[in-house]
């Protein structure tokens, strides 16, 4: 058999019907994750056609996007602030009941952001195909799964058949050599990669991140990297399972039974791309020269090392429009710019390690006067862990707000928004116009950089505070 990439192996193992020039492949989906925002119309379709969920055992729902993060609204008597959001939450609860789908409901201890809980609970496993009506499904590729976002019509297809019609994407190897320096994180790495290949550089491709700098990353860091594959336009991002992956999987509530473990491990180990496997495209990055990164514009590719200056490409209408929106001028340094809001959270950087990094900077310090800082854990489990480790206390003492889990200010659907014209340093993944609220100005960065900037009230190189 010719040498195959990890993607080729996972794809081939899930082809129910191969593609032809006239017809796409029928691809089997092992795990279908759903949430309240992109599923209601799919359930309406099932209802209209008299269909059921074909494999409820392969379908899991959670509430994350439009859910409140205020404790009183989840566990207390306070009603959900936004009526439309409340309706959407109740609609998913009703759909789960009617269609027999497991739901990690509002007060469930396993609830959280869909891309955080999949791996955390052990639903996500190497070699699986995983889809969700959400573009950051690429996160799950950190465990060697082929995971990608789909639209609501396709959500309906998977609910009804457990399959999708798909054309086979191409592959792009992202070879990361060297090792990240102190204070430089996986977030900085993926921002640098997007800066290099551009926001449409991965279109039509599945990225495989590989090389010594990737092997050195923890599971949480790998998820941060794969999470933002879509910001380069890619279908998915994958990292080959190794000892780090196996150690992580061994601790999951839904790990394979002891009798099945060895066979599962053998299968997972065989997933890595064969030596000499051909990728359609390549890019190489040296991690050791990277610095903390921060965005200055209105897409994640408009990014620079934190000590750098905003580019001065006169006459570039895209840059001019972005800078006008951000209220920045070409040639200005990023360091020292005033910050109004700091958000730590999201499926990119809402895991325990991210909260630990945030606490490392905040411990014994205070959020600068006039700065609002919101720390939102990626899941209820992470919330409990952070509280047990005393991190929540560090955040509170520093003057930050500590919330229940959810997407929160990443997209501002639940009312956690950045005011118009305010500048936010955010550990999330999108700095699009209006992403965190109408008129909000978003700077994407690592938890270190976010926390350091919260403390000084200015864009700050976190290495000065570490």
């Amino acid at each position: 058999m010719p040498a195959r990439t990890m993607f080729d192996k996972v794809w081939a193992a899930h082809e129910v019907v191969p593609e032809t020039p006239d017809t796409p492949a029928v691809l089997y989906i092992d795990l279908h994750l759903t949430h309240e925002v992109t599923s209601p119309q799919a359930f309406a379709l099932l209802r209209a056609q008299g269909l059921r969920i074909r494999r409820p055992d392969r379908t899991l729902a959670t509430l994350d996007h439009s859910t409140p993060t205020r404790t009183e609204q989840i566990f207390g008597d306070e009603p959900i602030g936004l009526t439309d959001a409340a309706r959407q939450v109740h609609q998913l609860e009703e759909n789960a009941r009617e269609f027999g789908m497991e739901l990690y409901g509002l007060r469930d201890p396993r609830r959280g952001i869909v891309h955080v809980i999949g791996p955390e609970q052990g639903h996500t496993r190497p070699g699986m195909t995983i889809v969700c009506g959400d573009s950051h499904t690429s996160t799950h590729g950190a465990l060697g799964a082929l995971a990608f976002g789909i639209g609501t019509t396709e959500v309906g297809h998977v609910l009804a058949t457990q399959c999708l019609l798909q054309r086979k994407p191409k592959t792009l190897a992202v070879e990361v050599g060297g090792r990240l320096g102190a204070g430089v994180t996986a977030k900085d790495l993926i921002l640098a990669i997007i800066g290099r290949i551009g926001v449409s550089g991965g279109t039509g491709h599945v990225l495989e991140y590989r090389g010594p700098a990737i092997a050195a990353l923890s599971m949480a860091e790998r998820m941060t990297v794969c999470n933002m594959s879509i910001e380069a336009g890619a279908r998915a991002g994958m990292i080959a399972p190794d000892d780090v992956t196996l150690a992580y999987l061994a601790e999951r509530p839904h790990r394979p039974r002891p009798a099945d473990w060895d066979a599962a491990v053998a299968g997972w180990r065989a997933l890595a791309s064969d030596p000499g496997a051909a990728f359609d495209a390549h890019v190489a990055i040296d991690a050791s020269v990277l610095e903390p990164m921060i965005t200055y514009g209105t897409n994640p590719g408009m990014v620079l090392p934190i000590g750098g200056e905003i580019p001065n490409d006169r006459g570039d209408p895209v840059l001019e429009r972005a800078l006008a929106y951000m209220g920045f001028r070409a040639g200005e340094p990023m360091l020292g710019k005033r910050v109004d809001v700091v958000f730590v959270g999201s499926c990119t950087n809402g895991r325990l390690e991210d909260l630990q990094a945030t606490a490392k900077i905040l411990r014994g310090r205070r959020v600068a006067p006039g700065v609002r800082m919101l720390v939102v854990p990626g899941s209820q489990q992470i919330k409990r862990e952070a509280e047990a480790l005393g991190l929540a206390e560090v955040f509170r003492q520093a003057g930050a707000e500590w919330r229940e889990s959810g997407c929160s200010m990443c997209l501002g659907m639940n009312g956690d928004t950045v005011p118009a014209g305010a500048t936010a340093v955010s550990t999330s993944n999108r700095n699009f116009e209006g992403r965190q609220g109408a008129g909000a100005r978003t700077l994407l960065a690592s938890p270190y950089t976010a926390a350091a900037s919260a403390v000084t009230g200015r864009i700050t190189d976190p290495r000065d505070l570490l």
Binding site: V26, A44, E154, L165, R321, M413, G434
Partner: protein, 192 residues
């Protein structure tokens, strides 16, 4: 779905690159549980001032944009989230095609499933369209060509299966459900 064969319309031009799905429809409009009525949220932050009044300089608010069914947009249109609310909003507003030099993957898939044609053209054709807003063009799905007013015809790529479904009004879910015997065989053979 209604079959689509040809589409003739004047164009509306939004030349910005990377028009993302948050611009097409901001997240605060995603709390709906139906598909209908999203046209009024289309490009909401670009289209309306904070008090809800239309911004007169935004292209969709100009008289000549009324009734246009073809949007000519900059490179990498539809990047960002998987929200199908983006094509729903465009279709609800009245658009039936988006013409660009590149269209993001998930958006393209979602568009095809809602009868919104993703038409990818070469940079020279795109430049001509951007420089001639309001031009009357025709999109022929049978011949997969875009016809410019001067008679030039430009071929555009489109997935053959999606084209077949659109031309014949075929519902992809119906086709996929026709594969259920193969799906059951796969599940039995692969321990699913």
């Amino acid at each position: 779905m209604e079959p689509i064969k040809t589409l003739r319309s004047t164009t509306v031009v939004m030349p910005s690159t990377n028009i993302d799905t948050d611009q097409i429809i901001p997240a605060r409009y995603l709390t709906v549980t139906t598909k209908t009525g999203l046209g009024k949220a289309l490009f909401a932050d670009l289209r309306y001032a904070a008090d809800g009044t239309p911004k007169p300089d935004f292209v969709l608010n100009r008289a000549e944009a009324a009734g246009s069914r073809i949007l000519v947009a900059g490179h990498n249109f539809g990047c960002g989230s998987s929200r199908e609310h983006a094509p729903w909003a465009l279709v609800d507003h009245g658009f039936r095609a988006v013409v660009s030099t590149a269209i993001a993957d998930i958006f393209k898939t979602n568009a095809l499933k809602n009868g919104l044609l993703p038409v990818i053209v070469d940079p020279a054709t795109h430049r001509w369209l951007v420089e001639h807003p309001g031009a009357e063009v025709a999109i022929d799905l049978e011949s997969t060509e875009l016809a410019l007013p001067d008679g030039r015809r430009v071929a555009f790529p489109i997935d053959r299966f999606a084209r077949h479904c659109l031309l014949n009004g075929i519902d992809e879910l119906g086709y996929l459900r026709g594969q259920l015997p193969a799906i059951e065989r796969y599940e039995a053979a692969h321990g699913r």
